[in-house]
């Protein structure tokens, strides 16, 4: 590659991003399917039985990746929202909007799988523990963002209101992440910490990371697919949309 600078604003135009996203969707979809297939195989046939929790611990292989994605997607949305507010780029706001349902989905799954893990291990589907409560608040933030965006007819106003909600809600992410340190929680501490401490066997860790990467590729594929619908909906009167083969046909 030459030292020529890449003009990122080139891709911030919906007309150039739409076909690019279309090419990226199948690539990330294939990566997601392969990684999740390998991850599921490792989860059930390679990872050993836990000495304390027996086979029940295998829930970790969906629970932790889903919980990571629930927080990560929120941060990515907040990043796009900030970019959208600063540079007034329409596509950034569309990206934030496209990620929201997937983020809400993973938050729901983190709570759901957590309940089904908590019941046999703690004896309760739900406790008002700091980790669980802050994750529930994250779910409400996603729902609030989606509802707020849907409730305002003017797209630019909806984008701005949503972006501000997202940025205010970012405060919840460190609260979720550090809740197991700051408070005495029933929820166990971090499985993998930022300092690189790992409190589990290598096979289990590798399986969890592969599943997490699979969920990550899945999220990119679904969000890019969804952003394509959003671009078409918002740009339906633009000239380039009329020239698309899938519209003319």
């Amino acid at each position: 590659m030459s030292s020529r600078l890449v003009n990122w604003f080139h891709f911030s135009s919906p007309a150039t991003f739409y076909p690019l996203a279309g090419r990226l969707v199948p690539i990330f979809a294939v990566i997601a399917v392969i990684l999740i297939a390998v991850g599921l195989y490792l989860s059930f046939f390679v990872a050993p039985t836990d000495y304390k929790q027996g086979e029940g611990y295998r829930i970790i292989f969906v629970h932790v990746p889903a919980a990571w994605m629930s927080m990560f997607i929120y941060l990515v949305m907040a990043f796009w929202a900030a970019l959208g507010l600063i540079f007034n780029t329409r596509l950034s706001m569309m990206m934030a909007q496209a990620l929201a349902p997937t983020g809400a989905l993973f938050t729901f799954l983190a709570l759901w799988t957590g309940a089904f893990w908590g019941k046999p291990m703690w004896g309760a589907w739900w406790v008002w523990d700091a980790r669980l409560t802050s994750e529930l608040i994250l779910f409400f933030l996603y729902m609030g963002y989606i509802a707020l965006q849907g409730a305002i007819d003017d797209t630019r106003r909806a984008d701005r209101a949503g972006a501000i909600l997202l940025l205010v809600g970012v405060v919840n992410i460190p609260i979720i992440y550090f809740s197991v340190k700051w408070w005495n929680t029933l929820h166990q501490g971090a499985s993998v910490s930022l300092r690189g401490d790992v409190s589990m066997a290598t096979t289990m860790l590798v399986t969890m990371l592969i599943m997490a990467l699979g969920f990550w590729a899945y999220s990119i594929a679904v969000a890019l697919k969804r952003v394509r619908c959003i671009i078409l909906e918002r740009e339906r009167d633009a000239g380039w949309v009329g020239k698309l083969p899938e519209i003319r046909a």
């Binding site: 059930f44 027996g54 969906v62 893990w117």
Partner: protein, 57 residues
Amino acid sequence: MNWSEFWHMGGYALYVWASFGVTALLMIAEPLLVGGRCRNVRRRIARLRRLQQEENP
């Protein structure tokens, strides 16, 4: 390990399969729903464009 033992999950069958099952269900349903939405959007825009062309050719 045979299959009935596998599905039994050492007594944790309900919890393990409810977790993996619902995760699989939602992660299969979401892409299908998004695909359907995109198809609808494309169809609607194509129809609108056709109508516009008929009105002012």
